[in-house]
């Protein structure tokens, strides 16, 4: 994949939430206000980048050469869980303003399937790159762009939800069903980026 196509597919055509369905819970849960969706989005970008930075070398240099690739799921989820805890502690001690902005969202991310998903997809997509560094660079780029795509979807959706608050919806559609149908329409607009099949 060329760099341009990685960026375009991760942000728009293969958007993590709207076409890959990863990270639906935070997408539907934390999208009530634009401010909180920006915080959540930034935290996700940060964790996706950092966990890819750790898991990709671990897969390439430790697991794959020893034929232990099947331990991927277990190793990755442990790394992500440990890492998120670590980031929380470090941010609280070192950069309190950033912690106040992102801190609330960090624990929610530990088991967000978008984060585990991006690390696994990176290994699937880029593990056969000619050189380790090329694969590593592309993996990091993909992780960053996937996070940006997630944030974009979250912010757009938060804008729509604030407008939906006062609309007149049938009683049994109120709440989650209406939210899901709104998500379906947003997803429809993103589908246009890949063209109708």
């Amino acid at each position: 994949m060329s760099i341009f196509s990685i960026v375009l597919s991760a942000i728009l055509t293969d958007n993590f939430v709207l076409s890959k369905f990863m990270g639906c819970c935070p997408f539907l849960g934390v999208s009530k206000k634009i401010s909180s969706s920006i915080g959540m989005g930034l935290a996700v970008i940060f964790v996706m980048l950092c966990s890819t930075a750790i898991t990709y070398p671990i897969h390439m240099l430790v697991l794959a050469p020893r034929g232990l690739a099947y331990l991927q799921t277990m190793a990755f989820i442990l790394i992500i869980a440990v890492f998120v805890q670590l980031v929380e502690i470090i941010l609280r001690k070192m950069i309190p303003p950033l912690y106040r902005a992102l801190g609330v969202y960090l624990p929610l991310i530990t088991t967000n399937c978008a984060v585990l998903g991006v690390t696994i997809l990176n290994v699937d997509n880029f593990s056969n790159a000619p050189t380790f560094l090329e694969g590593y660079g592309k993996a990091l780029l993909y992780a960053g762009c996937a996070g940006i795509g997630f944030t974009l979807a979250l912010i757009i959706f938060a804008g729509i939800r604030t407008r939906m608050e006062n609309s007149d919806i049938p009683e049994f559609f109120k709440g989650i069903p209406a939210t899901l149908i709104a998500a379906s329409i947003v997803s429809l607009s993103f589908l246009a980026f890949s063209g109708m099949s």
Binding site: P107, S184, S187, L188, S197
Partner: protein, 225 residues
Amino acid sequence: MAKTTKTSCLKEFTKGIIRENPNLVGLLGMCPALATTQEAKNAIGMGLATTFVLLGSNIVISALRRVIPKSVKLPAYIVIIAGFVTLIQFLLHGYLPALYTALGTFLSLITVNCIILGRAEIFACKNNVWRSALDAAGMGIGFTLALFLVGSIRELGGAGTWMGIPLTKGFEIPILTQSPGGFFVLGCVIAIVSKIARKKPPRTIGCQGCPMSETCAASQGGCSK
């Protein structure tokens, strides 16, 4: 729900199927319910794979509930769950390679399915092995049925087939098998289920709506999987 010792074993099993259906009533595990339901067949596969992991992890966690120290509860659960996920990956890769390819990444993502960690936190760590197994079987079957329902609607409406058998060819709306259709069908199914159950649909999802938000070890209710 913490004190369930009085409920009969049968109730333990049946509650997950309709009344406390983890997917349509509890709103957990939304990602697989959207991503693996293009075809009814894949939906059943995903449901059964999740049931397998849920059953295994619930039994092991409940058997070890006095051994695992409280402070490392969550990492221990995650390792047990990931172990069973690796096991089902091997089994599917070996015996059902077509399903293995169709489910793809979402097979690994069973590890972070809310339902499994949720049942471990809410049920398995407080109840004996037999009850935990029944609970897991009920919840797993409930999840499978929910996925199967959404998958059947999407496949019938979107591809004109059901379980691969052509039924409504010529009337299909292809968008239903694509991502917008997933959100739309799931939204409608949840609305109809809450209409039939005659109660208001849940207003929140994720951590706020998650039954384990109080107990979840990640202080703010880290169950936003």
